[in-house]
Symmetry: D2
């Protein structure tokens, strides 16, 4: 059973290759009656768009989204919402050299082996271009969950060895302020001085014909208690699954994460207290999720991206016949995918949350 869908009740199926006619998504399961802003979808697509700054790929795509169905008089009908984005700036010739060769740490070899056949142009379906469809669908998910007050915000907290330290965003207003800093710099880092260092690093890496990895942190505020479906669709399970579907992601942790592994229970437990009629925890090492179910505290998680595989430097490789070849990156690529991945992480998270908001409607009689 193929795997181009995400979500059970709010289900997104995406389609499209990097150098085909275009890419898109169908959402089956968006409830009827949601006022939909196309501008908000476009805004997230613009945040992901190549060519948005000098530290991203220079492929020129307007990434204009078209809604083909499911919306009437700006409101969702409860029927499938089809979204389409035309590919405008393919330069397929840039990929002639890999028509039968495999780029290191790309999906050329595995697609060839799995399907016996592949679209080599721009990596075909394995291209990060496919995430534009995810962002478009995620922007609808965001609008759905914002009806229930949920807020999703992601930002870059590491590029190479440059790391953001402690962040404060307990209150919603602090958080909104943090997000506004994030969107004010092209690397999308909440620490402005560090952002500048990150930009420099990315520029330098690009000059070297190399690439660099990093980490994105994502926070969900105002999540109601009760989302998540144990045992195998725990909220963290579905968030992790969604994040690992994003190109270049190699790690995911929530709450105390890997650091928690070296701690004692007495250090890591979050004790409960009541505040008015709300039940809260004094610390939040659980990352807002306990037993796979949201507990009403902020959800937060970190997503590790490896460096982009396409580098300008020549690399050893093989072709379809198993012969040795040398491969060099052509095409237009990102020296660091992190800045553009921020809206992708948000989109994937929003889809999971939208799905679980709806799934949770059947938890009780």
């Amino acid at each position: 059973m193929a795997g181009n869908y995400l979500g059970e009740v709010f289900r997104v199926t995406t389609f499209g290759e990097s150098h085909g006619i275009g890419i898109g998504a169908v959402i089956d399961g968006c409830p009827a009656g949601l006022e939909l802003s196309v501008e908000k979808i476009q805004k997230d697509l613009d945040r992901r768009r190549p060519g948005q700054s000098h530290i991203t790929s220079q492929r020129k795509e307007s990434d204009t989204v078209q809604i083909l169905s499911g919306v009437f008089n700006n409101r969702t009908l409860g029927t499938p919402i089809a979204l389409f984005i035309t590919n405008e700036d393919q330069r397929s010739k840039d990929y002639d050299h890999i028509e039968d060769a495999f780029r290191p740490s790309h999906a050329d070899y595995t697609y060839q082996a799995k399907y016996g056949f592949r679209d080599h142009r721009g990596g075909g379906r394995s291209s990060a271009r496919a995430t534009a469809a995810l962002v478009a669908a995620g922007a609808i998910a965001k609008q759905l969950i914002s009806e229930f007050s949920l807020l999703v915000g992601a930002f870059v907290t590491q590029v190479g060895n440059l790391r953001v330290n402690k962040l404060h965003h307990e209150s919603e207003s602090d958080f909104l302020e943090l997000i506004s800093v994030v969107e004010s710099n092209i690397v999308r880092c909440p620490d402005q001085p560090l952002a500048e260092q990150m930009i420099e690093l990315i520029e330098q890496v690009r000059k070297e014909g190399d690439t660099v990895g990093g980490i994105i942190t994502c926070v969900v505020k105002n999540c109601p208690v009760g989302l998540g479906e144990p045992l195998f669709s725990k909220l963290q399970s579905d968030l992790a699954k969604a994040m690992f579907s994003i190109n270049a992601v190699h790690g995911f942790e929530y709450g105390s994460g890997f650091d928690g592994s070296s701690k004692r229970g007495s250090e890591n437990n979050d004790v409960f207290y009541a505040k008015g009629d709300k039940i809260l925890t004094r610390t939040n090492y659980s990352g807002g999720i306990q037993g796979g179910i949201s507990n009403g505290m902020d959800i937060y998680f970190r997503v590790a991206f490896k460096p982009v595989a396409t580098i300008v430097k020549a690399q050893e490789s093989v072709n379809e016949k198993g012969e040795s070849v040398e491969v060099k990156g052509r095409g237009r690529h990102d020296p660091c995918v992190l800045p553009r991945a921020v809206p992708i992480v948000e989109a994937a998270a929003a889809i999971v949350l939208a799905d679980h908001l709806l799934r949770n409607r059947s938890a009780k009689l």
Copy 2:
């Protein structure tokens, strides 16, 4: 839509509460004709069983599995395989004190909020006891994938601050030797001297009424090229989802993982070379998966466990009415869940691999 199933084609649905009659699983989609060894299932259950050593919980469960259906003359029929394990040693009185109180960092509060009602005895469905059903089902998955030569082996590589360094297991024989070391000590660590330190640490932590976390590493050998269904059922996506369904897991990384985030592309890429008619990579920072699809190299990943939430020390909490209460761990619990979690990680991995082996049968005409 509730979430008590794992897998699409090889689908495992589990059921059961910690202090109910028993727990079990139904596998729908195991192909017909597999010779099934009940002994092998039991062996993995014994590796997970409480009371197996002095560093685990002392609950006395024989965890004897019964196959209720789907097998005839020791071979699978292609019909659902139902597995059942009777609960034998419930001491529900140990949980009277939390009938209406919430244990810190447990699922008591979230279950109560989500379902409006819960089985407080031993944590009900949220108990790690439910993983016995997963282990039983996983032991069948292991037998299925071993027909195709796949080997899955997990081991403890960190307890508290004690960490295993570099491991060598490139060849299958090295790996089998490593696994034999793992199973020779009660903490399931491949480094025998370190294992002894870990055991000491766990004993000390137990004496303090505390608990400690750690990390399990899992390796899959002989995985064929082609497993994984992009874009949203990438092999790493489904492995991550499965791992985060395990109690206490807070982090997952594969290949270069979080470390890869600080690297350059030129350092992290795995170049291809041919050896006979096989295509291999000189390094394996990809962890055996590229573009969401296995590339034939070893798959390896690391799973971070937080310390067990139940501690003997008194902790602040609230009850269902929102009143302040003090909660102390009673019942019988593990000071460190890692040794018993090794077969659970293997089981979850084996189910994902079995599922993808079957899903991959439809990739080509």
Copy 3:
């Protein structure tokens, strides 16, 4: 992907072979907080049980159901509900003669071909015995939907050439009266004099070593407007799918059904009128479903059963080697499956309705 489940949100997975240890079901997705009566489950099992009258199979099964999980203090927990029924009266020797021979119009040949291997005893998984698990799960679905006032009632309207004519059951009290007549005779026919003829016919057919088919009509009262998920999970689509899963079913129609094919639109249309704040239709040729969605009128449909395949008369057949053999029915079988199929039809309908009640919770914002 194997097919032993029914329903998406209220999902029932069944397991078990006719002559194995037992049969059962797991319901994943029953909302928490439902008061569950085991007596009501048992009552439906008793209505399906063999040996309940002289016109059914004489296999002696108490069909006592055991709830293994998901229920605490008589209320559903929102976790999977596992049900188990032990097989008590297998006489596997009765089937030695078909260990390698195929009974005409049974599933022996197709199971052998599909799976390469089969449990020949009593037909294994293809036995109508598996419907006991469906009835048990359906009895829980009935209790769930009755919380929302829905009533499901089925009855025999044809055996051989004996057909019930017009039925009146517009009001709920008329319907309950009709159902009480149905349950007062062993053939479960709402027309008492005809019921006696049917019983005579079945007795005669049994004496001849033969079997006879018939039709069951099912009515759903008090269904809210809005159930059904176009385009491919229309209410009639899922009802049909569920009914065709029942052994021996060869036809399904709802509303005007096959008769509607020879009608004009002007005859067959159901015009709307308002009564208080309800919108009703003057006729109900639509069978309570329009555009795949319930319209609040009675849902009704008819299910055609072929005669049971097992007959005492000798029949030509072949064995696994393709050699000619003669096969005679042994074992204990029903001369007419209709009386026992009434609760099966109700169960399958109730599961579909329960599923759609929950699925409909996501239709609107």
Copy 4:
């Protein structure tokens, strides 16, 4: 969970409203390497197209299909295949009168009630126009199954009271001849003289401002033994589900169907015999399916269509406020949907067969 998808492994999700931008489908799970003929897709769309003859609706749609993804150099990539058909000839004004009124026996009322909101233009998503997407996807399914020699052919066997009698199509050549007769007349009936009577009847009904129903028979030849996934995805279960998703379908039967209900087992059983190394049945009352699994004989089934609900005659109805109104059919509609429904039935059947061909790949080790 919304229901706009059909199939598990070969999964088709459709989208689009009658008077929106267009309609389409995404196929997730078509194996890689299939040579795809767009002409064959277009041919089936032309067979379904309005305006193809004087006895169909006169809406002018070229129904030109565009493949947006999943195909490279005329071969399927194993990635999602997106199909799109632009709506060209909407006359939305024709529907102004039902903006807040409900047409009898249409889905206006139920969509309004379920979703709280609807696209009234041409019936929105409930329009039979949506079946064009199904036909396009089905045409790909046909090409897939024809790689395995399966043939699907449907034809009109009843319009009003005009019924085709016995058909002979045992051999493949007889069947192809029958199909060629079917496609030679505009009503798609295999009996040429009767076809002429049917055409006359439809013309007369149209003059009366009325509509008429009928029956389509569908035959599948060369189906391998083994397709179908008991217990709940039996081949007949999934065929029935797919057929009931088609607008106006009110009945489905396979093999001896409703007629079998009045028969004896001794009359209705299909005895086996061997011919070379094939196992066949002397009769085929089972309709090619036993125990939910294909047995290698011809699969055949009959699908009952009610008369189209839109009639020119004035009819009583109500509006959204519950006030009495009179509704008359405007727009362009079919007096009889049967001729255009032939490729729709074939498409739905082909999708089910393609799905089961792939699902069956996991039946055995």
